[in-house]
Amino acid sequence: MKKSGISRRRFIEYTGAAGMGIGLSSVLPQTSLAKTGIKVASGAANPLGLASNTQAEGVFFSGGFGHAYIEYAAEIFGEVHPGSSMSVEGIQRVGERLRPRIIAGNPPDVIDNSGAGNLDTGALVGEGELMDLGPLMSAPALDTPGKTFGETLFPGSQNSGLFDGVQRYVNIAFTVFGVWHSKSLFDEKGWNYPTTWDGMLSLCDTIKTSGIAPWTYQGKYPQYMLFGLLEPIVSKIGGPQIWKDVDNLVPSAWEHPAMLQALNMMKALHDNGYIMEGTSGLTHTESQAEWLQNKAAFIPCGTWLENEMRSITPGGFNMVIKPVPSDDASRLSWIDASSGEPFMVFSNGKNPVAGMEFLRCLLSKESAKWFAQNVGSIMPVVGGAEGVDLSSAMTSALAAVDNAGPNILDRPSFPGWYSDIYSEVKDSMGALLTGRASAEEFIERVQGASDEVREDEDIVKFKRT
């Protein structure tokens, strides 16, 4: 369970969230810029050689995090490079919007390829559309003197962007995945978060009798139950090797007994009538809105949830995240946490250097602090949350990571690598949770999709170690 490489105490150090920020005071002189107040480290103003007066273009997914934080980073960019600018456009359904421009050989300089309907990353890498970000990783960090850009990022946080050893994108959000509930509601009702799955089921029974639906999920997007439940439960039962085998298209990887057991545990939610009526017809924000009205007690999600629902969260709701329980109480604390929200630079964009330079600004300490403060989530930037007051949701997420100690689980990579398998998982997950597929059928369908991908010579394959 090493992969993410963040050990228990060091995590707190990295984020600096608990006010224990590592002393980064430096003897090197720094230049302070007026508006954002960013202090550019000496010799770090323009290591990549951005031409003066570059007008660059960025197009970004605007989802749970919004895109105000990207505008802030563009401000930093403009201050570091007077005369140059980065335009910021926030969009949804990135694939539909940008594919035409990619075919046309006219992509933006930098994008955030996230959200429903995004571009197929595997195909982009396979076709050589993405810039090798190696020079960025080894360039000096913008406002952390004496470190390279790569060194200022959480260890392991950029592994998913490595394709055959080459950095093709950078992840800009550190996200904790788990099960959410309202602390206020649980306190009021005297419910305690369970330590095992059996405990979960019996608590669900209690919740159901009280007239509240125990569970809901992001109905039309059943993949939330993949990263919220299936991934961690399988790892807790059978170890993290299973997901590596899945990513590497090992034959029968999905047929591992832990997979079957985990799927059956999840299916029990449906079989016992614990899932809120109507769930399968709701979008993610709609199901989350229901949950905020205490119509359901639990919902899976990542830490973007809080910001996404901020405008309609009732006062005193107190949302908290917990790791999902499994068969073994001693593994309760194991939790999925990883970096996501991939930003990429196009190799044949007009200004690839500007794209990389923008990422250096976006993942600067100053920008990370703004993100922590205003978006309520954190970037995988060392010291990026120094001196920032975090919300109850983020505090609970960091506590969960802290409790997990070395047992931070990694997310599998197949969703980004092989869109065919991911589609099949989404469909089968929906079928499983509405009682239309058994755990065995789920496995058969998904294994079938995996076998097809393995045998299709036209799909570029990637390896995970």
């Binding site: 605007s62 989802g63 969009i91 949804q92 035409p100 075919i103 046309a104 006219n106 924000t285 809105a289």
Partner: protein, 278 residues
Amino acid sequence: MYKVSRWSAVSTQTVLVGWAVIVIFPMIWMIYSSLKTDQELFFSPWAPPMELQWDNFARAWTKAHVGDYLLNTLIVVIPALLLTLIISAMAAYVLARFEFVGRRFLFYMFLSGMLFPVFLALVPLFSLVNQLKMLNTFHGLILVYIAYSLPFTIFFLTGFFKTLPTEIEESAIMDGANPYQVFFKVMLPMASPGLISMGIFNFLGMWNQYVLPLVLISDESKYMLSQGLAFMLFKQFYENDWSALFAALTIIMVPTLIVYITFQKQIQDGITTGALKG
């Protein structure tokens, strides 16, 4: 004419009234939902709003740019429609009134365009428009709209010109009019009922077009109406502003309704004669 029993008259009216309610009610619901808060939408779908939330409309108009989408659509549809009519009428007139080599071939070539599903052409069309440097431009979209409206319009108008009497045309030629004067001064006015039918038929098609702009316009500030509405729906998945979406739907639907009621006779005739000739 024949005996209609009382019972059957009552049951006829019941069915007709029932269907009218089914057609109208969703729209009434949409309009009053557009004046509610998000909280009210969730808790009491049937109840009218406690207080009218005009702000929903303000958000839809400005923040969601429904006003811009309306304007963009007009900028594209009006010239596209006029040009479609004039270009089609010229071609149809020649196809209907002159004998020349390749006439049948041309007619069937245009006719075949009615059978192609637009999906088949989507990707190559995109590359083409891109090579012409017309992606994200209104004039590019106008030309594509015209091209895809030609087959049916030419087909319909050719049939229409054939039904017109030749005497007036011939006497105009006798009077010394040149072929252009004959066409513009004599034939076009005579063809106006056909042109109106095609005008209405194409207007609705272009006004509601979704797939073509989806592929050819990716700049949000240049979105067409349907595209902008779908965009709002997808954006809505992240922004929790249902009431503004209802307001946007209302903004788009009410003008359509007013125009429709005012011109309903012409619109129905235009669409059905268009459809029947096809």
